[in-house]
């Protein structure tokens, strides 16, 4: 005990804690970096190249080796090696300078896309991960699941048609539902439509859309659209977006003769002593949360009113089918009603 000094003890303690932090801090910790590095192999590079080609071809862009290497995070030589190997295995072919998917390459790419979107659906329905994390987690999972595992996953999820962002999920035979719609930024004033897709890349813009609390599946009406901003109404609230942000939202335009429910508002806007009827639950409410709401009787046509407000104004207890059920504000904002 002769050498003991509280200052040394503290210093050693902080040194150990700091080292532990460097090793295990989320994502950038050395431990995780090393672990990830061990996994990154040729298969991942090939699959990422296929996916990149698939998406580019779908949006009508031409791809060459240069644009591909700059789009992917791997070293140039690794990508070039992978492309050579893929050409030998008949996954890609060169059309002059332009790189194209062969039929088998397209099938393979479709399989990767299927796993990616299914996994996002899985994360949305069966886990509690935040939606900002889905994409990144699916990016690594798409390289891991086998064909059988993927099909089992699809069965468990009820063979879903769309992923949580509104992208269609290819079936195991390669069937794919189509998404028709226009970008929100290109809609005319007074156009009415339904949000069918919210793009999750790039991350910065996706987070902005999430911060605005815009929900997929909601019905909108554009009131202003110019170079500076797009203004629209949805579910009784007004939203203002920069055109570049609005371009990442796809809207299916509703024709005039289609039945359009007017005066849709969110349950969170209901006031005490008001009575309303439920129109439905927003697509943003997913998984167990959605099921539990349905089980409790938050279904179309049900009469609803406020029973009690807690001292902090959140949660609020609603009277539904004779029972008093407390919901938090974020849940109430995902239930759509029409006030009587």
């Amino acid at each position: 005990m002769n050498t003991y000094n509280p200052i040394y003890a503290l210093l050693i303690f902080f040194a150990i804690s700091f080292f532990g932090y460097l090793l295990f801090r989320p994502r950038k910790g050395w431990f995780w970096l090393i672990k990830n590095n061990l996994k990154s192999n040729e298969k991942i590079v090939i699959e990422d190249v296929l996916k990149q080609l698939y998406h580019s071809e779908n949006s009508g862009k031409e791809v060459n080796v240069n644009s591909l290497t700059s789009a992917l995070k791997f070293g140039d030589s690794i990508v070039v090696d992978a492309i050579k190997k893929m050409a030998i295995n008949d996954l890609v072919q060169f059309d002059g300078d332009v790189l194209k998917l062969t039929n088998s390459g397209r099938d393979y790419a479709l399989r990767i896309v299927r796993v990616h979107r299914l996994w996002e659906k899985y994360l949305a329905e069966k886990t509690g991960y935040d939606k900002t994390q889905w994409h990144e987690m699916a990016e690594s999972k798409e390289h891991e699941l086998s064909h059988e595992e993927t099909n089992l996953l699809a069965t468990k999820l009820g063979n879903p048609m769309y992923d949580p962002h509104g992208d269609p999920i290819p079936t195991n035979t390669g069937k794919i539902a189509d998404v028709t719609g226009e970008f929100l930024s290109s809609l005319a004033v007074n156009a009415v439509g339904k949000i069918v897709h919210i793009e999750d890349e790039p991350d910065v813009i996706y987070k902005q859309i999430l911060a605005e609390n815009i929900h997929i599946g909601s019905q909108i009406r554009v009131v202003e659209n110019n170079k500076k901003r797009v203004v629209f109404y949805a579910e009784g609230e007004e939203f203002k977006l920069a055109p570049i942000v609005a371009a990442n939202i796809t809207v299916a335009v509703l024709e005039k003769d289609e039945v359009i429910e007017e005066n849709i508002v969110r349950l969170s806007s209901l006031k005490e002593n008001e009575v309303a009827h439920i129109l439905g639950i927003s697509k943003e409410s997913r998984g167990d949360n959605r099921r539990r709401l349905l089980d409790l009787g938050f279904v179309k046509g049900t009469e609803i009113s406020i029973d009690l407000v807690s001292p902090m104004k959140n949660p609020i207890a609603y009277l539904v089918k004779g029972a008093s059920i407390a919901l938090r504000k974020d849940q109430a904002s995902k239930i759509l009603i029409k006030k009587d």
């Binding site: 468990k156 999820l157 089980d295 409790l296």
Partner: protein, 254 residues
């Protein structure tokens, strides 16, 4: 079908009070299995205690019973084993409680399923009732908390309800042991086949789902003619219930 309108009639000729013995946890050598199902906080545990003479803790608080509890009683020298299933709002979802309840009613094939409901919240409770009626045709509806319903000026036309659901309906106030003899008597009648139920089938299923369910359930019936609840199996298959898929493969459902 017989309708039970009167409550606690220990004296009436139908009920054989001397034939009743509450057996507590002694569940050996039973003749019939009775399952208790229902929403959380509908007094299921109170009904369970009233039937078995046990004193399981009951709370005014959804979700007290998570693991299933067992007990027994004897009536007219027939032994009934009673299972208190966890309270659930539905059988369509994935929570552990629901799985326990759903699997027991489907695979455990109880001789009678008593569905306990809170009378003042009947509509909400019917959600679960209608689902159970898709699985089993030997069920009894126990309208619990009749005392509270009366206090809230809620009147129930028991006869109409029994006709619409196609199963016997017994009003009770289990906390005060009212209606329990009637319930025991009815359990006996259903278990021994003296009452035949013709349970309600869900009618308002959206058309596209109904078409798919019909197609699938007729396919199931073709392969497994002995499955009584092919419609429910079809619902579950469409839902992606892997447990059901496995059960079909192992032949557990037949």
């Amino acid at each position: 079908m017989e309708n039970k309108v009167s409550s606690a009639c220990e004296t009436c000729s139908q009920f054989n009070a001397k034939g009743l013995k509450k057996l507590g946890v002694n569940t050996d050598n039973f003749d019939f299995v009775v399952a208790l199902a229902g929403n959380p906080n509908t007094g299921k545990s109170t009904v369970f205690n009233a039937l078995t003479g046990l004193r399981q803790h009951t709370g005014n608080w959804p979700g007290k019973t998570v693991v299933r509890a067992e007990g027994a009683f004897e009536y007219n020298s027939q032994k009934f084993k009673l299972l208190d299933l966890p309270g659930t709002y539905s059988l369509l979802s994935t929570s552990q409680d629901e799985e326990i309840a759903r699997n027991f009613i489907l695979f455990g094939k109880p001789d009678v399923t008593v569905i306990v409901v809170d009378t003042s919240r009947l509509e909400r409770n019917l959600n679960l009732v209608l689902q159970i009626l898709e699985i089993t045709d030997k069920a009894i509806l126990c309208l619990n908390f009749m005392d509270e319903a009366k206090r809230g000026n809620i009147k129930i036309d028991v006869r109409t309800l029994a006709r619409d659901l196609g199963i016997p309906v017994v009003p009770t106030s289990a906390r005060y042991s009212e209606g329990i003899p009637d319930l025991i008597h009815t359990i006996n009648e259903v278990a021994t086949g003296k009452i035949i139920c013709r349970p309600h089938q869900i009618k308002n299923v959206p058309k596209n789902i109904e078409v798919a369910v019909k197609k699938l359930s007729s396919e199931i019936k073709k392969q497994f003619p002995s499955i009584p609840n092919s419609r429910w199996i079809a619902f579950r298959l469409l839902e992606g219930d892997t447990h059901i898929i496995d059960a079909l493969k192992t032949g557990e459902l037949v």
